[in-house]
Amino acid sequence: MTALVAAVVATSAVATACGSGRPQPLATPSSAPHGVTPSTTTSVPAPLARSRPVRVRIPAIGVDSGMMALGLQADGTLQVPPTGFPAGWYTGAPTPGELGPAIVVGHVDWAGRPGVFYELRRLKPGAQVTVAREDGTTATFRVTRVEQFAKGTFPTQAVYGDIDHAGLRLVTCGGAFDRKTHSYDDNVVAFAELVSALPA
């Protein structure tokens, strides 16, 4: 069954790529980066080709949002959306569904209202996250853990480091808000991994 899904995914990805005239290599666990141990579980689907995410849905907490592209600010920190909605994806990281850590950011609040990721801290392991991509495929992730980190010791490696599967990190703010520094004390990060993909 897994092989069938993988085959369907692989076929559709290639077909889409041929249709767009731009060949996009399909990253597979067999081409894992140097020094990273490939996953030994066989139920993990093959990662998808690169494709811009257009929508993210988290049914458990009522998130259904479009996506905007985010880069880096002048000081090297991650850019964030200019308002409470929509969520955004970091263009310098893999797209959701590709091998590696995809990064999706949303505000916890903005201008007096809850932001798109207001409820992220209440997400539980096992919750489902789906990301619709520009090429028509849909990547479905399952949350493995939700953690809260002090910003002063942000876990750069855990969030941005290489991994052996298609992963997703949903990031927002949390903890107490420090009015002197105009920022929240913590970041809330939900880690998730690809569990299935639907063709276009």
């Binding site: 002048a74 990281a93 590696g100 950011v105 808000f177």
Partner: protein
């Protein structure tokens, strides 16, 4: 008055010492927590305005061959004239949603810059001076005739913030020098009214002006000219948006290129902040790409690793907030202590 040996001293007095001491200590701690601590200038977050070299509210007018390295946009007035002689490496967003998002971010950046402190006063023209990192404030105008030197003392992350109550005016052929690691991406000019850069001058930093910005003939800017409510006037200029060099390069073992899919095809839609994942001005060895070979560092699936944490909230729904929190918990503690004292006294007298 002489106490009878059978009369105990007032029990309330005996109990008062402990709770009162605790209250005094609590108040002292509370005051310490509430006291503002001296802060250096901190990076002003530009958000969606980061990718812009020129941003205006009341239109952009250009004369002569002007080169812009960065985006441009204007909103709510969306007119841009003289664009035929504009050479843009970036996107002309006109008045679109990206520009609008950048305008919102500009207001926030302006307020952040204006609110920084404590400040050192600017008493006279900045020409001929060498300044260390910090926040510099003039209640009225700021002028520059000649050369201003900004010395970061070896810290590439050192920030300089200038606050002008009214106008910023630089003279012809004036210049801003950066030494000892100072970077124009870390220099911010918050201008309470309008900014005018003199002919042939060389300016550095991001101007955040409330009203107009006029870049006169031949002036160059390594930075950004961002005007909130006014217009931006250009005349044969070169404006290059500056991006800081990102991660501090760790000792990098040879990082074997990982099996990444093809390098990023750009999203086709224009509704985005259009900030590239790589620095706009790659400077060879000084530019890091986040690919270091150590075991504890990212290896390359993320092409350029962001530094630090993620600012994803403005605290507008956080209720009590940072300072009130201490007052609140102090109040609760006070009430508890007071209750305990009364209880003990009652028991004693019963």
């Amino acid at each position: 008055m002489k106490l009878s040996p059978n009369v105990r001293p007032n029990p309330r007095l005996r109990f008062a010492a402990g709770p009162v001491a605790a209250l005094v200590a609590l108040l002292s701690v509370g005051l310490l927590l509430l006291a503002t601590s001296a802060q250096a200038a901190t990076q002003v977050p530009l958000g969606a305005a980061d990718s812009f070299a020129v941003l205006a509210g009341a239109g952009i007018t250009n004369t002569g061959p002007t080169t812009l390295n960065g985006d441009l946009g204007t909103f709510p007035t969306t007119s841009i004239s003289g664009s035929s002689s504009l050479t843009v490496t970036g996107t002309n967003h006109g008045g679109d949603s990206v520009t609008q998002g950048a305008k919102t971010a500009l207001v926030n950046a302006y307020n952040v810059a204006a609110g920084q402190g404590p400040t050192s006063p600017i008493a006279a023209d900045l020409g001929g001076r060498t300044l260390v990192p910090g926040v510099y404030n003039s209640a009225s105008s700021i002028g520059l005739t000649g050369a201003l030197t900004l010395d970061a003392g070896g810290d590439p992350n050192a920030v300089f913030v200038f606050q002008a109550g009214s106008a910023l005016t630089t003279a012809s052929a004036s210049l801003v020098n950066l030494v000892n690691g100072a970077q124009s991406c870390n220099v911010f000019w918050q201008v309470g009214s309008s900014a005018t850069l003199g002919t042939g001058s060389h300016f550095r930093g991001t101007i955040l002006a409330l009203t107009d910005i006029t870049v006169t003939t031949g002036a160059t800017v390594e930075g950004r000219v961002l005007a909130r409510n006014g217009a931006v006037t250009l005349d044969t200029n070169t404006i290059t948006r500056s991006a800081c060099s990102g991660l501090v390069a760790s000792p990098s073992a040879s990082a074997t290129p990982t099996a990444r899919p093809s390098t990023s095809p750009r999203p086709s839609t224009s509704a985005r902040p259009s900030t590239s994942a790589r620095p706009a001005t790659a400077t060879g060895s000084g530019t890091t790409t986040g690919t270091t070979g150590g075991t504890g560092t990212p290896n390359g699936q993320v092409v350029r690793v962001p530094t630090g944490a993620v600012p994803a909230g403005d605290g507008s729904t956080s209720g009590g907030g940072g300072d009130a929190r201490y007052l609140l918990s102090g109040g609760v503690l006070l009430a508890g202590l007071a209750g305990g004292t009364i209880l003990a006294v009652r028991r004693r007298n019963a």
